[in-house]
């Protein structure tokens, strides 16, 4: 088991290097530092001197990958690639275009992001699995059909509709919770309830339909027939036999997103004015602050790779056939 994890971690190194190279190419070759400077300065203020100054202030005036002027190791280290890309491996993200420390910013914004993402994750998992089990319990009846129609309808509607509709009805008409905003500590609860419920509802349709398909596949298996032949009740068959087996594919689909919960949700955070990493990314894209976007892309990749690793490990934990062989 430990050998397996070590091997998987070793595999992750070349993948991360690849991700790093590709982000570098995207941010500095496709879009050169000169282009960035022009965009930031605006048409009116662009002069060669202004561009040079802008670049020098942010360390973009060095050569891209190879510094002929420097000597020895500095030929490599005194470059944009080393400063801006390789340093990310040490979680050194540098400063954003407006001069703030990105690392510090990320650490402080992680908390509101997690405050939304973690409750949403568990609530969604609980509600969708229960809803899917309910549909399966009433399979081949009108209730089942109605439930599936509801799922399809729910997943056909844009996520924006849930957000705007929810804000209008719950906050504006009923006046139950604030429309947007955030506070620290326990005070945050009243700001979080609505976004959490709306995120859950927006994802309910597609997940419940998928889980229902998994449950239905399991329920036609031979061991379920055996369980019924023992005289077990349908509920017990569902919860003890079907659920246990169906959780294997469900878990592996769900575990992969756990690390990316840190990244927050782009849409929800922006609409509800939550100062998390999602809205941070959206704001950075809006203001063309590529240093922040680059950092977030890199962190996202690292977390995703971590998610895949966790998936494989959780797979071995829940399935004895994998664990014991």
């Amino acid at each position: 088991m430990i050998a397996y994890i070590v091997r998987r971690l070793l595999y992750a190194i070349p993948i991360l290097l690849g991700v790093n190279l590709i982000t570098f190419a995207l941010f500095f070759l496709v879009n050169s530092p000169d282009d960035m400077a022009r965009m930031q300065l605006g048409v009116k203020r662009v002069t060669p001197e202004a561009i040079q100054q802008w670049k020098a202030e942010r360390g973009y005036d060095k050569p891209l990958v190879w510094n002929e002027a420097a000597s020895g190791f500095h030929k490599m280290s005194e470059t944009i690639f080393f400063d801006k890309s390789l340093r990310m491996f040490a979680l050194d993200f540098g400063r954003s275009d407006d001069g703030r420390d990105i690392g510090l910013e990320i650490r402080s914004r992680m908390v509101p992001s997690l405050a939304i993402a973690v409750p949403t994750f568990f609530l969604s998992l609980f509600v969708t699995v229960s809803f899917a089990l309910l549909l399966v319990f009433f399979r081949a009846t009108v209730l089942d059909t109605a439930g599936v129609v509801l799922c399809v309808a729910a997943m056909s509607i844009s996520g924006l509709f849930y957000i705007i509709g929810g804000q209008y009805v719950v906050s504006k008409v009923w006046n139950l919770v604030p429309i947007s905003g955030y506070a620290s500590g326990l005070d945050a609860t009243r700001f979080l309830i609505l976004p959490v419920i709306i995120s859950m509802l927006a994802g309910l349709g597609s997940s419940a339909r998928w889980y229902r398909a998994i449950f239905l596949e399991e329920i036609n298996r031979d061991y379920v027939r055996t369980a019924r032949a023992k005289g077990l009740s349908e509920l017990r068959v569902l919860f003890r036999h079907v659920l246990k087996n169906a959780l294997i594919p469900i878990l592996t689909g769900v575990v992969v997103v756990i690390p990316t919960l840190f990244m927050g949700s782009l849409l929800i955070e922006s609409f509800f004015g939550i100062p998390g990493l999602g809205s941070y990314t959206i704001d950075a894209i809006g203001s063309q602050d590529f240093a922040v976007v680059r950092a977030m892309v890199f962190i996202g990749s690292v977390l995703y790779i971590l998610g895949l690793l966790l998936t494989d490990i959780s797979y071995t934990l829940v399935d004895p056939r994998v664990r014991l062989q």
Partner: protein
């Protein structure tokens, strides 16, 4: 039978299925009883409603199913009047069930203890320590060694036979009055089948349990049953005691089932043309009429009645057939029955004069020579995936086969038979030499090898998965001709496809259909046509009939023999069915754990086995005997060891009844046993060959 001894009383039971093709009636007015300690075997082809009968009794029909008429009484209690909650008290306690496929019928993520505990708690209120003690004794009673430790293992850690024992233990945990066994040994090897049947017989004797045994295997029926019921198209067509049935099956369908069994000394097996009719129709006459040789005018228009008649031995039997309608039924029965040859003729093996096609000995070089073939798979472990061991799937196999002859390769599953086939076809990298018509295949480069592929083809076990469902029959058959450039133009290829279809007994119009439109037997014919398309000299048949019903198996075996005679084909016939070997093969090689332990002409090896393993295989085959089951037999104990970790010395010694100290130390060399009367010698790898 005394009324108080009756455990299960089924009368006029009818089950309906509301399918997309209309309403089907897979169980139609079934009536039978089973007494305490008795076994009723339900026999018939697939699709006759046997399993639906079992599910009806348990009231576990699929969602589209419905019990529409009749009554089921278990120990006097009417099951159809019970609520679902009351019925759950019956399932597992009043009657329990075991299923065909033990590897899928157990919950893969629950330990054996957890699965047993459910029954013990639910039906007997046992939990904790008491449940564990009981579970342990249950496992021990079905012959699982080291029961205390194995309770906490998961099903995948058990072998197939052991899993089926766990299923039996689970069924017995509620101490049922009736055990329903649905094809309990069909998925198992013959040696393991013998063990499981023995367990079932012993437990029945101990507990006086009634048993409903569903099977398509006459041998199993003969070993287990007290009563035999034959089902056809949802109806019982014959019901008789075991002795009466086996001395003279009365219904033409029952007689056909016997005649279709592979036998030695029979040129061509009797077959049942056609297939079981779909059960969605209203039948106007006898359901078997379309396939019956003895069909009479009124069979098509008049439904035969379920009537009682006296058999020759004075016992009574039930039958549904117009042949027995007239008065003086006893005489008539006897007259009909004579047409069937007596079953279980004990000396059939020793008959030397049997006809097999193309037994003419050409003194030419052999078609196929395999020398010291080895297929080893590395086992990799650790961070760097270093090789820590090898699975010796095939470990030094040598064979030789001449054109026009059939060499059977037999052994338990996992012994490496199929890997040998794949390695010969060069579909599996292997060490050692494979010579086809004197050409050394393993030394050829890719392109030359491709041309030689025309010389050898394969027919696979499962015709349902071995044909591409998206290719029309014509495309499937023509593909090989096209890629090997055997027939160059499209028109000629189409013409050849039609010829081939006719040769395998299908009509040329079928060329444009897709595989799913055919029955299992027809699909296997298509697979054979596909193999023949490139004019091979060698066909490797990998269990070509084991997924088929007996009647269909007979058709395919006949077809293979005819084709062999016409085209002088050499067959390497991979199978575990010794009756088929006896019928179709000239030579036989017995494989055990990657090596051949005995080899020689079929007539010699099967009548006078010299290796204890061959003898054990032969003894494990259920015999069709008129006499009642004889109780205990010396079945081969234990399972096939893992080829990754074979036993020291002779691989067979842990299971061998005559093993001695020397067998534990060294692997026996090849001994050639000369025989004056036989042109071909018998070879055996045993220090102490049987005499």
């Amino acid at each position: 039978m005394n009324a108080t001894d009756i455990v299960l009383d089924v009368s006029n039971l009818q089950t309906q299925l509301h399918t997309a093709h209309g309403m089907a009636v897979p169980v139609d007015r079934l009536s039978f009883t089973i007494g305490k300690g008795q076994t009723l075997a339900l026999l018939g082809e697939s699709g006759c409603g046997k399993s639906m009968t079992a599910l009806s009794l348990m009231r576990l029909l699929p969602d589209v199913g419905e019990l529409s008429a009749g009554s089921i009484r278990l120990a006097g209690q009417d099951l159809l009047s019970l609520t679902e909650a009351e019925m759950r008290r019956i399932r597992g306690r009043g009657m329990a069930m075991i299923f065909q496929e033990p590897s899928t019928s157990l919950n893969p993520v629950m330990t054996v203890m957890q699965q047993l505990a459910e029954v013990l708690f639910m039906h007997r209120g046992l939990s904790g320590r008491a449940a564990r003690v009981e579970a342990q004794s249950l496992l021990a009673s079905v012959g699982i060694p080291d029961a205390a430790r194995r309770l906490d293992e998961y099903p995948f850690q058990f072998s197939g036979g052991m899993k089926q024992r766990v299923m039996v233990a689970m069924a017995l945990a509620g101490q049922p009055d009736l055990l329903i066994a649905d094809e309990p040994t069909t998925a198992l090897d013959v040696t393991i089948q013998a063990q499981v049947l023995q367990v079932l017989r012993d437990l029945q004797a101990q507990r006086g349990m009634a048993m409903l045994l569903i099977t398509h295997d006459l041998g199993v029926v003969s070993e287990m049953a007290h009563q035999v019921g034959v089902m056809y198209a949802g109806e019982l067509v014959e019901l008789a005691s075991r002795e009466t049935f086996f001395s003279a099956p009365a219904h033409p369908y029952s007689q056909k089932l016997f005649a279709a069994l592979p036998q030695q000394g029979v040129q061509s097996l009797a077959t049942i043309p056609g297939r079981v009719p779909p059960l969605t129709q209203d039948f106007e006459g006898c359901r078997f009429a379309d396939r019956c040789e003895k069909v009479m005018a009124h069979c098509q228009s008049e439904v035969p009645k379920w009537s009682k008649l006296s058999a020759a031995n004075g016992e009574q039997r039930w039958i549904r057939c117009h042949l027995y309608r007239e008065t003086d039924e006893g005489v008539k029965t006897a007259a009909r029955v004579e047409q069937v040859k007596p079953i279980g003729s004990d000396d059939s093996i020793s008959k030397a004069a049997f006809a097999k096609p193309a037994t003419i000995e050409h003194d030419t070089s052999p078609l196929l020579v395999v020398q010291n073939l080895k297929v080893h798979f590395p086992i990799r472990r650790g961070i760097l995936q270093r090789t820590v061991g090898t699975v010796r799937a095939v470990d030094g196999v040598s064979l030789s086969l001449q054109a026009g002859r059939t060499l059977a390769l037999v052994g338990e599953s996992g012994c490496g038979k199929t890997t040998v086939g794949k390695a010969i076809l060069q579909l599996q990298p292997a060490k050692g030499d494979v010579l086809l018509n004197g050409v050394k295949l393993d030394s050829l480069d890719k392109n030359t090898l491709r041309l030689h592929r025309a010389g050898m083809q394969m027919v696979f076990q499962d015709p349902f998965s071995s044909l591409n469902p998206r290719l029309r029959v014509q495309e499937a058959i023509a593909e090989g001709m096209q890629s090997l450039d055997i027939v160059s133009t499209n028109e000629l290829r189409q013409q050849r496809v039609c010829e081939l279809l006719e040769q395998v007994g299908l009509s040329p119009e079928m060329a444009l259909r897709y595989p799913h439109e055919f029955s299992g037997g027809q699909r296997q014919r298509i697979a054979i046509a596909r193999a023949l398309a490139v004019n091979p000299k060698l066909i490797i048949c990998d269990e070509p009939t084991s997924a088929l019903d007996v009647s269909v198996q007979a058709q395919i075996l006949n077809l293979l023999q005819t084709l062999q005679a016409e085209r002088n084909l050499g067959y390497l016939f991979i199978t575990h069915n010794l009756a088929v070997v006896q019928h179709i093969a000239h030579d036989v090689a017995v494989m055990y754990l990657g090596r051949i332990v005995e080899q020689g002409p079929v007539s010699q090896v099967l009548s006078k086995p010299r290796h204890p393993y061959t003898r054990a295989l032969l003894e494990a085959v259920p015999k069709l005997e008129q006499a009642a089951p004889t109780g205990t037999r010396s079945a081969l104990q234990g399972d096939l060891p893992s080829p990754a970790n074979p036993p020291q010395g002779c691989h067979f010694h842990p299971r061998c009844p005559i093993a001695q100290a020397r067998c534990r130390r060294e692997y026996p060399p090849l001994t050639i046993l000369e025989n004056e009367q036989q042109a071909r010698s018998q070879q055996v790898r045993c220090f102490f060959p049987l005499s």
